[in-house]
Symmetry: C2
Subunit: 237 residues, 2 copies
């Protein structure tokens, strides 16, 4: 937790805030902060700043807030992610959020197991919690926009054109051929398939919709490895 | 498992091989291969090739081997990794191996919990098994050279000069400053500290030894996120 995130309604009119639970435990047990110490804080979907601890109770902490700084810049990357197995999804989502992706579409594929869509990790509460963990790691405050797209055809036919508008759209996958890679800059839409890859039909639909192949080489990475590697590569200036 | 890896002594003089256990289960249950089917195979620390299944028994499979292809190219990256908590280490190691890193040094820092060094994941057998999983994912055969360096001072004083010889040595960490990053090419030595970062003293020792700062931005990534992101970035042509 590299920032203590507050809901908008947790800041009082006098500029103080009181927190308990997981955040209290982090400040008291991990940071071992004392009265007068400063902690890094932020308002969810708002500014970052500093909290100065004024009171430490048994189960809560009160601090004065001062907000002065914008959240770190978002990455100009939209992520289209075929739903991985739920545990890998959780980790991958958190990583994408930590790295600064602000628009995420989770999509279906014939190679996504149907049962994955029933995972308790996909409830709005669980998704929000996971994204908050990603923001806390990054020191960020802005919750990404996340959309679950259970129908592949609806996504492709009705939504994809708008999603990729004004961006370079790339679809990732291993490639034996050592061809030169597109060097996208500006807004990028990055599509990452399931561990087993998209089907040939699905792949074709993306290419027809304007995506170009993008590869990190001949090695087949798992989704949770590929996503940070690709974001790391594509976010280079 | 994107390649079936064989020990050198598993190939018979007539070119056939018999496998059981985890690899047998993968071929029979996941790939659902039949007699006559081809599977991707490789000899550990040797060539890649094709196996043609000639016999399927209750608990084993026999196939004819043909080796014709070199393993995928290694990455020109040496990884120096401060030991993360054991579960994260396992994942990070597997990712680095899958991505093609062939020289890995695991090191100590004041910010590495001492107990991590007693983890059963650090036995030679566990390390080898984890690296084989990484190779199986990548379709690679060459086991990386992995060295555990329990003494920070010994590493810095006695080994570091040789390790970074003829390479650009970079030490990763978040940076608020949006300065231009070194663009290393050729051989690279990449040093990644603990989640809490190296101490100021340790950082100084690396800089004095010839490392330059390298940053993906102001966001603090966890080690297991930073390693694939950095390798993805640094392995760009």
């Amino acid at each position: 937790m590299n920032i203590i995130l507050l809901d908008k309604n947790e800041t009082n009119s006098d500029g103080s805030a009181k927190i308990d639970g997981r955040r209290f435990l982090h400040i008291s047990k991990v940071l071992k902060s004392k009265i007068g110490d400063s902690i890094r804080i932020g308002v969810i979907d708002g500014l970052c700043g500093t909290g100065t601890i004024s009171e430490i109770c048994d189960n809560s902490i009160i601090f004065k807030t001062e907000f002065s700084k914008a959240a770190p810049s978002p990455l100009p990357i939209t992520l289209l992610l075929a739903l991985p197995r739920p545990k890998a999804f959780r980790r991958t989502l958190e990583t994408a959020v930590t790295m600064g992706v602000k628009r995420i579409f989770v999509l279906n594929s014939s190679n996504v197991e149907k049962s994955y869509w029933d995972s308790p990790f996909l409830t709005p509460e669980a998704l929000r919690e996971r994204m908050l963990l990603g923001l806390e790691q990054a020191g960020d405050t802005i919750i990404p926009q996340l959309t679950l797209c259970r129908s592949f055809e609806t996504l492709i036919n009705d939504n994809l054109k708008d999603i990729i508008k004004d961006s370079t759209a790339v679809i990732a996958g291993p490639s034996e051929v050592n061809e030169s890679q597109p060097k996208p800059n500006g807004q990028i839409t990055l599509c990452v398939g399931p561990d087993r890859g998209f089907t040939a039909y699905e792949q074709k639909r993306f290419i027809e919709s304007g995506f170009v192949q993008y590869s990190l080489g001949s090695r087949t990475l798992r989704v949770e490895q590929a996503v940070p590697a690709l974001i790391g590569r594509l976010s280079a200036e």
